[in-house]
Every structure is written in C-alpha cells, then in structure tokens.
C-alpha cells in the first residue's frame, strides 16, 4: 500500500472514529437512555446533562487508564516477579540482585553526577545569556541561535558531539575539534594558563558558589527561624551537608589540577577516559538545555518591575549587586522551576548515553541500565526494578510539580 494513502486512512479512521463516537454516544444518551420527552422529560434532561461530560472525557480517560495507569502498577508487579521461574512472586529478590551489581551503583553514581552538574550548568548559562543578551541589539539573534539545539533531537546532538570528541592516530591530522585544540598545547605558558589556571578558577568559583548556597541554607537555622516545619529544617540540613561535601570535593580537585601530569601532544580518546567521560556526555545535554533555561529566564527577567532596578541604581548599587540582590531574588521561583524541569530530564536521560557510549567505560546511567536489562538481558524483573528506582527518584519533584500545577491551573 502507498504510505501516503495508509497515513490518510489512519487519519480518517482516527478522527472519524472519534467524531462518530462523540456524535453517536450523545445521540444514544438523548434518545434512548434518557429521552427528553414523556412524563420524566425534565428529570431526564438533567440526568443526561450529568452524564454528558463523561462521554466526552471517556476516550481520553480510557486510553490513559490502559496505557498510563495500568502499566505503572504492572511494572511494580513485574519488579517483584522472576522470569526464570515463570513469573513467580519472589518478593524483593530483584532489588537485592540489582543492589549487588556494580553496574547499578555505577549508574546511580553517574546519575547523581548528572543531577548536580547539568541542571546547575544549564541554569547558570541560561541566566547568564538571558541577562547579557537583554542589553544588546543583536541579543535576539544570539538567543535564537542558542535555542536552536532544542530543535535537534538528542541523538542528532550526540552525533555532532561524537565528531567533536573524535580521535585519530597521532601522526595524522585530527578531525575531532577537541583533539585539534588539545594538540595545540605543548606544556608551555599558554598551556599552564588554559589547563591549570583557568580550570582552577572555575573550580574555585564553583566551590565559592556552593559554599554561599550552604551558608544561605544554614543561616535561618542559626537564627532559630520560627514557623519552619521540622521537615523543612531537615531538608535544609541535608542540602547543606551535600553542599559542604561539594565544597570539599572542589577543594580536593583544585589540589588535583596542579599535581596531575597532563599527556601533552597525544590525542586522547575522550569518551573512554573513565570518570571524565561522564562530563563529556553532560556537555551534550547542557548544550541542548541551555536554550530552554535561557528562554524561560529571559521572560522572567523582562517581568521584573523597572522601579526596583531604578531604586537600586539610585541607591548606588553596582551591576553585580543589581543582578544578584535585586534581579535574582525576584525571579527565584522561575529559577527553581527551570532547575527542577531540567532535573527531571536528567533523571531520565537515555538517548545521549545510548548513542554515544552505550554505558561502556563507566558511563552507565539508570535509564540505559534499565534498557539493558529489559531488552538485552531480557530480564524484566530487574529491568522493572530499575524503572521503579527511577520512578522513586523522580517522585519528590513529581509531587512538587503536580502540587504547583494544580495550584496554578485552578
């Protein structure tokens, strides 16, 4: 059959089917079940009107129940059964088996790394670009170009970055951009400046920002804030501990930057460097997501009342103070929304890892681990257990999102 014809038939069938359903069901309701005549006409009309909304909502509802509601519980059930025993109930065995696998913990660790780096970097870059492009004439062009990666699929982006990370033998010209740049460094002053000082400044900056966040989190505790629930306090402490740990890590890596010997002049296979290859994969997602953060944050920045900024200028604030003390606090809710949205994307990241390394060389992430188990190892028990773990990790943000969406859309 001709593909175009087939598509046309599908469309006609789908839309026609829906319309017929809507029309016929209303017709039946009005003429057969609750006819608007006879002794009970008035009551029947009322009854019919009570049922009618359900007729319209029913197709969507049924589809959602079958394809969204049921699968969630089915996955939960499958995660408690074992394939090799013909689907017998085995309790938490799958989870136990998963916990004993190194690959799973590697995926967990990598997911946490992604979780910290990608939302932070995307939001920060997005905010930076949004603020800077606000003031110049060609800002809109820059913005539309930076947003462009959002239109390209994750797989497409991975392919592009595969070219960037490409490696060829030492004696032929490098095609991968990263190696081409890398080969420029020979260990001279320039190399020291770019590969020691610059990363050190970046790591230091990251450490300072995190330390500041930790301070922000802890300050209300010291001033014994009233009206704060114990849960919120606990959350503050947990986040602060993570922040302090990150400060420690960045200080340690600061030390590492100056002590490691870099292999100058040798092309690197970037995607096989354990641990660091995770960051090369994250760059892809940051590249894509910055556009999203930028667009949302730039709209929020535009919405800030002019008077507040003007008042700050009159009070003699410098541009940095205006940005950090006037603008950022006012768009904080939007920053949180952007951050959590990107966090959700990160927790489910699959395409990039699948297309670039397929989880080899210690780049495994949870979604790809799950895919491996389900469709390569054909083990639906452990695969479903991994899916449930993803679900659990997403749940706090999910609940928060649902709560906000309900509040907003009422």
């Amino acid at each position: 059959m001709n593909p175009a014809l087939q598509g046309l038939i599908t469309v006609v069938l789908g839309v026609g089917g829906c319309l017929t359903y809507f029309y016929m069901s209303n017709r039946i309701l009005d003429t057969v079940i609750f006819p608007a005549k006879g002794p009970n006409a008035g009551r029947n009309i009322n009854r019919a009107n009570m049922v009618r909304p359900w007729l319209f909502v029913f197709p969507a509802m049924a589809a959602l129940m079958l394809y969204l509601g049921y699968p969630v519980f089915e996955t939960l059930r499958l995660s408690l059964t074992d394939r090799s025993q013909g689907g017998a109930f085995v309790g938490l065995d799958n989870y136990r088996q998963m916990m004993s696998e190194d690959k799973f913990w590697e995926a967990m660790r990598n997911n946490m790394l992604w979780l910290i780096v990608v939302p932070a970097a995307s939001t920060a870059f997005g905010l930076l670009v949004a603020q800077l492009t606000d003031r110049i004439s060609w800002g809109n062009i820059a913005k539309s170009l930076i947003f462009m990666p959002m239109a390209i699929s994750f797989v497409g982006a991975s392919v592009i970055f595969k070219l960037i990370y490409d490696t060829r033998p030492e004696d032929v010209g490098q095609i991968g951009i990263l190696n081409a740049i890398w080969m420029q460094f020979e260990g001279g002053v320039g190399s020291f400046l770019f590969l020691k000082i610059l990363p050190a400044i970046m790591v230091l900056g990251f450490g300072l920002v995190v330390a500041y966040i930790a301070w922000l989190l802890l300050r209300p505790l010291m001033e014994d804030a009233k009206g704060e629930g114990i849960l919120l306090k606990l959350l503050r402490i947990i986040l602060a501990v993570i922040a302090v740990w990150l400060v420690f890590v960045s200080l340690r890596s600061l030390f590492g930057i100056f002590t490691t010997e870099l292999p100058y002049g040798k092309p690197q296979t970037w995607l096989t460097l354990p641990f660091y290859n995770n960051f090369f994969l994250m760059v892809v997602l940051i590249w894509i997501q910055t556009g999203f953060a930028m667009v949302i944050l730039s709209a929020a920045l535009r919405g800030i009342p002019e008077e507040t900024v003007e008042a700050a200028i009159i009070d003699g604030a410098n541009p940095f103070q205006i940005f950090f003390k006037i603008k950022v606090p006012q768009i904080m809710p939007t920053i949180v929304v952007v951050w959590t949205t990107i966090t959700l994307t990160v927790l489910k990241v699959f395409d990039i890892v699948f297309a670039m390394t397929n989880g080899q060389w210690e780049t495994q992430v949870l979604a790809n681990y799950m895919f491996d188990k389900l469709f390569r190892a054909n083990d639906w028990g452990v695969g479903s257990a991994a899916a449930i773990i993803i679900m659990l990790l997403v749940t706090p943000i999910l609940v928060w999102n649902v709560y906000n969406a309900r509040k907003e859309m009422r």
Partner: protein, 313 residues
Amino acid sequence: MADATTNAVTEARGPKPRRVFSSTNIIIYGTLLVVCLYYLLPLYVMIVTSLKGMPEIRLGNIFSPPVEVTFQPWVKAWSEACTGINWDGLSRGFWNSVQILVPSVIVSIAVASVSGYALVNWRFKGSEAFFTILIFGAFIPYQVMIYPIVIILRDTGGFIGDVTGTNFRLMGSIWGLVIVHTIFGMPILTLLFRNYFTSVPEELFKAARVDGAGFWGIYFKIMLPMSLPIFVVAMILQVTGIWNDFLFGVIYTKPETYPMTVQLNNIVNSVQGVKEYNVNMAATLLTGLVPLTIYFISGRLFVRGIAAGAVKG
C-alpha cells in the same frame, strides 16, 4: 561610580556619553562571544563537514569551509547509507517518521482539544479527579510504563491478527507507535488546551448559548477560531516531540519500521567500513530538517511549544 559623580558636578551637559569600549561592554561581548562559540561551533562544523568530500576531511582542517562543495554525502545519507541491515539510507526512516507523525499528531490534538474543552465547559463532579490524573499522566517518567506497554501491544495486536485472520501486529509496526505517541501526548495537550480555554471570557460562552449554539457549535464557531495559536503550539509540541523521539522508536518498532532518529543512530554506530564523517553529519542535518524548518518558520510559538512540552514525562 565615584568618578561618575565628580564628572556630573563639573561637566554634566547633554546625554550621558556612551563609550563603546567600556569595561562592562568588553566583559559582556567577551562572555557572549565565548558562549556563542560553545553553542555555534558544533552547528557550524556539522554543516561544513557535511559539504566536504572524504579526502578533504582526512586532511584535518575541520574549521575551514569546503574547498569543493559536494552534495554527495547528502545523497548518500538519504539513499545509500547502511542502516544496520538495509542499504537504503535515511529515506525509509523519513517516510516511516512521516507515517507515524501525521496520524498521531492529528488524532491526539483532536481528542485532547475536545477533552480540554469538555473540562472547561462543564465543572462536573469528578472533573477535579480527572484533572489530577491528567497532571500525573503528563509528569510520570515514561520508563515506568515501557515494558507493560510492550505486553499490551503484543497481546492486542496478536489478538486482532488472529480474529481477522491476517498477520496484523501492533508490536513492531507503525500502528503500535502511532497509538503510543497519540496517548502519551494526550495528558499534556489536554492540560494545554484546558488552560487556554479557561482564559476565554465566560460571557462569550453564555452569549453563544443564548444564541442557541450547542456544544459543537461553540467549539467550532468560537473556540476553534479564537484559539488558533494554541493549536499551532500544540502541533509544534507534538511534531518536534514525536519527530525527535528515540526511546519509543527503538523499543516499539523493528528495522523495517524504524523512525528516522533510530536509523540515524544506526548509520552512525554501524561498525562496517570507514567512518564517513560527512555522511554522518549530512544524516544528522537531514534528521533535524523538519524541526529546524518549523523553528525558523514559527519562531516564538515554537519556543512556547517546547517550553510547554519540557515538563512531560
């Protein structure tokens, strides 16, 4: 700040002079330049590489524009590249994607707009519950539902095949993927339409009702013409989402019915022969052509569509 005020005392006449090379400007332009390099260099390299011949690429000057522009890589990516088991390039994937895209976009938007309208039109008992289900459905990660849907598609498809006596299957066919995309797009689209329709003033409904318009009358004569932008947003959200989808494509189809993104991945990751960078880049560009075209045509609405779709599972 300090010397600005002293200046103001002595010689404050006319508008404030604007210096082009002030330190803030240099910082701004410098940062933007670096940022633009990070975001644009990959795109530039992709386009340039796709227009070069293989011998030219081997020389290694990746940043230089092509000496000899050739569209051979594009032709090869479209009709000859190896995608796993076939040697017919992306064209097959393109048509598969189109066949998946068109029905699922149209049907999901039709159903979602009607349901969203029903939610606004009647504040019936249980509409709250349905609303909550919709929100959950929009946000739940797809990973949780993947495997049971494999079972559903396999069983229902096999059942239909048995009943009709044909070798009809849902799992692995385009139809299965159409169903999945249609349903997974529904929650977020319904919310989108519902939110837009609630902003339509209630007086309009009332006036129309007084004039004798029924449910469908109001929908087609008032809602549809008034909410064309949101229909375009929904369309963009669905088209880019479905076109760029990889997860569902790789799971619910088989090599003959792979959508374009999956084929792109297969072309790039196939291990046979030499790595043909130009063909890979041309294939990437070809795959991105549909969303990119929509982006350049629709601009602001595209951004809205993407932003609306960003939260979905």
